[in-house]
């Protein structure tokens, strides 16, 4: 089995568990560092941490009553989130996120149809990169304003109201209700129309560009901000790299730094999702490694690229 096949297997299992596992009574908490959307309904086996972060970040609430469980619960969830994050880092994005898999399905469909992938030039990439931090700031800063009474309650969970996960993931539980336009007031109308536009436009982007949404994902930004805590990561041995650029081509996020880095071993960039595609594509023995703490999980080798470690000759050209 190749790493790509293993990743697909893990992604599908996690999709099934996170989307439908709740029906079997499975509850993995409310601190998952990926887009496991509770709006899916009772089937959701664990909730995206961003929803909890938005819902409970109100400082007024925290300071209201330190003896209340309502105060300590978010702290416990935050610690759980940090623990999960520290353990698997951005593998949550590359290996577990159900919304990531939905994007990968669209990519596989595009590949099957041999349709050209949209090219995001480095200049565009540079321009788009801050958006995820803006969204992260939005979802962190707006809720306290609601708690403080500066903004209306309608802005509660401001990101979820425009998150494509909320509209798309419930469709897998045959629930299209979040596609509806909410005309209760101007705020809801504006947010629901935004969500509808995002839901309509984003799949087009996701079809033509691999992992298109991840470019804007605030969870990716949050995980990267907390990068020093994670023990899973991508490292490079610069003296083993011949600069062939296979890593760059294989990268679903079009990361260029892994290819261009000539000195530092740390190549875990903000956009990296630890999918290990670059490690798989690298034919220089030992140049790239996906590392868990001090253990090498998977290291690049010509043997692997040549298909000698798995089914001969079938990996790179599926």
């Amino acid at each position: 089995m190749t790493v790509r096949q293993l990743r697909l297997l893990v992604q599908h299992l996690s999709f099934i568990i996170l989307t439908y596992g709740g029906r079997l009574g499975l509850n993995l908490g409310q601190a998952l560092p990926c887009f496991s959307c509770p709006f899916v309904g009772p089937g959701c086996a664990g909730s995206c941490y961003l929803i909890g972060l938005q819902g409970r970040i109100g400082f007024g609430m925290v300071l209201e009553d330190l003896t209340s469980a309502w105060v300590w619960h978010p702290i416990g969830q935050f610690l759980l989130f940090l623990f999960l994050l520290a353990l698997l880092g951005k593998a949550w994005c590359g290996w577990i996120c159900p919304f990531g898999l939905v994007q990968d399905w669209l990519t596989m469909l595009r590949q099957k149809l041999a349709i050209r992938e949209m090219v995001i030039t480095p200049a565009w990439k540079k321009g788009l990169a801050p958006i995820k931090y803006v969204l992260l700031g939005y979802l962190i800063l707006v809720p306290p304003l609601v708690t403080a009474g500066i903004l209306h309650d309608d802005f509660f969970r401001p990101f979820c109201n425009i998150c494509p996960g909320r509209s798309i993931m419930p469709l897998f539980a045959l629930n299209p209700s979040y596609l509806a336009i909410n005309n209760n007031n101007d705020v809801f109308l504006g947010l629901s129309l935004t969500l509808l536009a995002v839901t309509g436009g984003l799949p087009v982007g996701m079809f033509f560009k691999e992992r298109f949404f991840c470019v804007f994902c605030p969870m990716l930004a949050l995980i990267h901000v907390l990068k020093p805590m994670t023990i899973l990561g991508l490292v490079k041995e610069p003296k083993a790299c011949v600069g062939c650029g296979n890593c760059r081509r294989a990268c679903p996020m079009d990361v260029t730094e892994v290819h261009l880095e000539k000195v530092k071993p740390d190549v875990q960039t903000p956009e990296c999702i630890d999918c290990a595609s670059c490690v798989e594509a690298c034919a220089s023995d030992g140049a790239l490694t996906l590392k868990f703490w001090k253990y090498k999980l998977f290291t690049s080798s010509r043997r692997y690229v040549a298909g000698l470690a798995a089914k001969p000759g079938r990996r790179l050209v599926p």
């Binding site: 590949q111 041999a114 062939c244 040549a306 000698l308 000759g313």
Partner: protein
């Protein structure tokens, strides 16, 4: 080999020279083949490669492959693209020192011996130019750039402009605009081949071609692994690699796969005398250095010659199955994945030597410079320092295709062997 009349029948002297050189070249060729067949480590599985090298001429290759031929001088032209159009890329034969005599007078005294040899060899073949439907010449080193001019001057051969395509190689690899320019060149090559073949490139055909070359890469990689263990003598590795251009990739891959078990079962030599061979390429029948190294007790376990381990890039990584995606992947592999010394930002080329050295496959580097091969000549000096800093013992040898310096080279190689053991 077919002898031809001189381009100028009135010139009987020229005609005599052609006859004499042709005869001598044929004899040298056969002598080398016989020598390889008589080696103790020859096995029947290796005979395929000798049979191919016995007759690497256009007519024979055309008949062997059943495909139209496209002449190339340099591996910078993406081979898979020819394959996708059903054509056979044919590397101009350039390993004989004898044929160089035919090109001696009208060319610089010190010039690339491979191209000198090629210029001579093409005069020995009747209808050489018409054997090829197309010529694809990348602008890699200066010699390759000026090759068509030298053909006119030295051999009186002019390629028709309509069948000639030049690939202008950007000599920077790490810059985005260079990558884009090279991709444009690959698109131009695609259009040229479409015009010449009268066919439109189908992504499915290109994918098939990539799969074919991926299979070739797999067997070459396995052979390389065995070589790292000292199980594949350099003369055999080079014979196998050299024969690649004179039969289809499919036949070659099958032949290598058949030959692999013969090497897998071979006793491995001791750890002493294991070296990396770098520098100018080595083409059949010029196995002088390989044989001398063997005689001196040195085992070549790795190389970065474009005639051997860098025979073709392989490992083309496909993430987009459209024509654009496939051509981009191919272009990048042939550009950024190439370690040719003609690139300006080639500083990471040294890692191709340091990395296997760290895995303790070898302790020394022999760098061959063919006189007149300027890019490698220059790079031999820039590589020496970084390699020595890594603790590798570095030997620079300057030679040519003639056998006159054999004894001198052997003495130096033997001394180097002692130096490695010290």
């Amino acid at each position: 080999m077919t002898m031809t009349a001189s381009p100028n029948p009135a010139d009987s002297r020229r005609s005599r020279l052609l006859g004499k050189v042709g005869q001598k070249d044929q004899s040298l060729h056969q002598q080398q083949i016989d020598q390889l067949r008589s080696r103790a480590d020859f096995t029947p599985e290796l005979d395929y490669f000798l049979q191919v090298m016995e007759n690497p001429w256009p007519a024979a290759v055309s008949e062997r492959t059943g495909r139209p031929l496209a002449a190339i001088l340099c591996l910078q032209a993406p081979l898979e693209l020819f394959q996708a159009f059903g054509w056979q890329p044919f590397k101009i034969y350039s390993g004989s020192y004898v044929t160089g005599r035919l090109a001696a007078n009208d060319l610089p005294a010190i010039m690339c011996p491979m191209l000198r040899s090629a210029l001579g060899a093409m005069q020995l073949q009747s209808g050489f130019l018409s054997s090829f439907r197309a010529w694809v010449l990348p602008t890699t080193c200066d010699w390759v750039v000026k090759f068509t001019e030298m053909m006119k001057i030295s051999a009186g051969l002019a390629i028709e402009e309509t069948s000639l395509h030049r690939l202008e190689l950007p000599h920077l690899k790490d810059q985005d605009d260079s990558r884009e320019r090279w991709l444009e060149e690959i698109y131009k090559l695609k259009k040229f081949l479409e015009k010449m073949t009268g066919r439109v490139l189908k992504p499915g055909k290109l994918r098939e071609a990539l799969e074919t070359y991926q299979r070739a890469y797999a067997v070459l990689s396995r052979l390389t692994e065995l070589r790292r263990q000292g199980a594949v003598p350099a003369v055999w590795f080079t014979s196998i690699a050299n024969s690649f251009f004179y039969d289809t990739a499919e036949n070659w891959t099958a032949a290598v796969a058949r030959a692999l078990p013969a090497f897998e079962g071979r006793p491995r030599p001791g750890a002493g005398g294991r070296v990396f061979l770098a520098g100018s390429p080595i083409f059949f029948p010029n196995f002088k250095l390989l044989e001398l190294m063997e005689e001196a007790g040195l085992t070549v376990v790795a190389d970065d010659l474009c005639s051997s381990e860098r025979l073709f890039p392989g490992a083309v990584n496909i993430s987009d199955h459209s024509e654009f995606g496939l051509l981009s992947a191919l272009a990048e592999r042939y550009h950024q994945g190439c370690l040719c010394p003609t690139f300006a930002d080639n500083d990471r080329r040294v890692n191709n030597i340091i990395n296997p050295a760290k895995r303790e496959y070898f302790e020394g580097v022999v760098f061959q410079v063919l006189k007149g091969c300027h890019p490698y000549d220059l790079e031999s000096f820039s590589l020496a320092g970084p390699l020595q800093a890594e603790g590798l013992k570095f030997l620079r040898l300057e030679t040519d295709y003639t056998a006159e310096d054999s004894q001198n080279l052997l003495t130096r190689l033997e001394a180097y062997r002692h130096h490695l053991e010290a």
